[in-house]
């Protein structure tokens, strides 16, 4: 069949679909850095982030992306981290952020 063109297209949904299969690497990320699970998305990490001044870098959002299975998006954003570790000092839940970002960017 020749597909007709109508001047517009069918779009991809932006919704997060938690029914889709979670990537296998996700479990290994949490095994390597279990403290990731303790994040409460308070935003302290993003508030003090050195890279955040120049790039769209909010660590808590990386963590949410990972949990939603959006690893590709997460890895791309994690690259902006300079591993300065200020976030780790400010995290109220003791997440080992430096190590976590390192693990994220290596996925």
């Amino acid at each position: 069949m020749t597909k007709q063109y109508f001047g517009f297209s069918v779009l991809e949904q932006r919704s997060v679909n938690l029914d889709s299969e979670m990537p296998a690497e996700l479990e290994s990320l949490y095994q390597k850095e279990p403290s990731l699970r303790a994040c409460i998305a308070c935003g302290n990490c993003a508030a003090v982030c050195s890279a955040g001044h120049f790039a769209e870098m909010q660590f808590y959002r990386l963590n949410v992306m990972a949990r939603r299975g959006l690893l590709h998006e997460m890895v791309g954003k994690a690259a902006a981290c300079m591993l300065c570790g200020r976030c780790q000092m400010s995290c109220p839940r003791g997440v080992n952020i430096r190590h976590a970002v390192l693990m994220m960017s290596q996925l």
Binding site: F6, E12, Q13, R14, S15
Partner: protein, 227 residues
């Protein structure tokens, strides 16, 4: 000059539309626009609630306020009785009043809508009518629509429609006295003012973009904003 905040608050739809947002996201969850676009009615509420003029100008100049489809599904669900869809109506109104709508690709389409729907109301008394739905610009209407249009008068009459004839019934020709009344209402209630603002801002934008502009459909600006 009135601030955008005060312009917003002066509109009853804004008074009704934003009480106090608590950022819960029930609106975005079921928003047909949020399903496909980088659009988030919750964030719009938060932005507007901030009252920050630079944020508000950003909204008025941006693409996002034009993404809402006005289904008003958000109104049903909001636990704080807000209606993001009403806030959008007011933002769009102000964006047109202040000429900011031409800054965005989607905003510029207001000229098309003004010329299609606005003119149709004045000329025919209908927002839409069969002759507006030309098969060549509405291929999604399918081959049956083409057939309907090819045989329009007979098909409509068979279904009990007057098809642009005078009389009492569907798709009748609306008499000139009635259309005169519509004109008078448009004049009295500011619709022509809005039309003029849309035309003027569009014409200025066309000049800025180096595109030709005219009252008829044959100009570069109109073709550009259709894309």
């Amino acid at each position: 000059m009135a601030t955008i905040s005060s312009r917003l608050k002066a509109d009853i739809r804004f008074q009704d539309g934003l009480k106090a947002c608590m950022n819960c996201g029930v609106c975005t969850a079921i928003c047909p626009a949020a399903a496909y676009f980088d659009y988030d009615p919750r964030e719009i509420c938060q932005d507007v609630q901030s009252g920050d003029e630079s944020i508000l100008i950003g909204l008025l100049k941006g693409e996002q306020i034009w993404m809402c489809g006005q289904c008003l599904s958000c109104k049903t669900r909001c636990p704080r009785d807000n209606t993001p869809g009403y806030i959008i109506q007011v933002l769009r109104k102000i964006s047109q009043e202040m000429g900011y709508f031409v800054h965005s690709r989607l905003g510029r389409q207001q000229l098309l809508l003004k010329r299609a729907i606005g003119h149709s109301i004045l000329e025919t008394g209908y927002c839409v009518h069969p002759k507006l739905i030309r098969p060549e610009t509405h291929r999604e209407q399918g081959p049956v629509w083409e057939w309907v249009m090819d045989n329009a008068k007979e098909v409509y009459e068979k279904c009990g429609s007057l098809y642009y004839e005078e009389g009492l019934g569907g798709m009748r020709k609306i008499d000139s006295d009635t259309l005169d009344e519509m004109h008078a209402i448009f004049q009295e209630t500011g619709a022509f003012n809005l039309f003029d603002k849309i035309e003027q801002a569009s014409e200025a934008k066309a000049a800025e973009m180096g595109l030709s502009f005219s009252d008829d459909d044959d100009n570069e600006y109109l073709r550009e904003i259709q894309l």
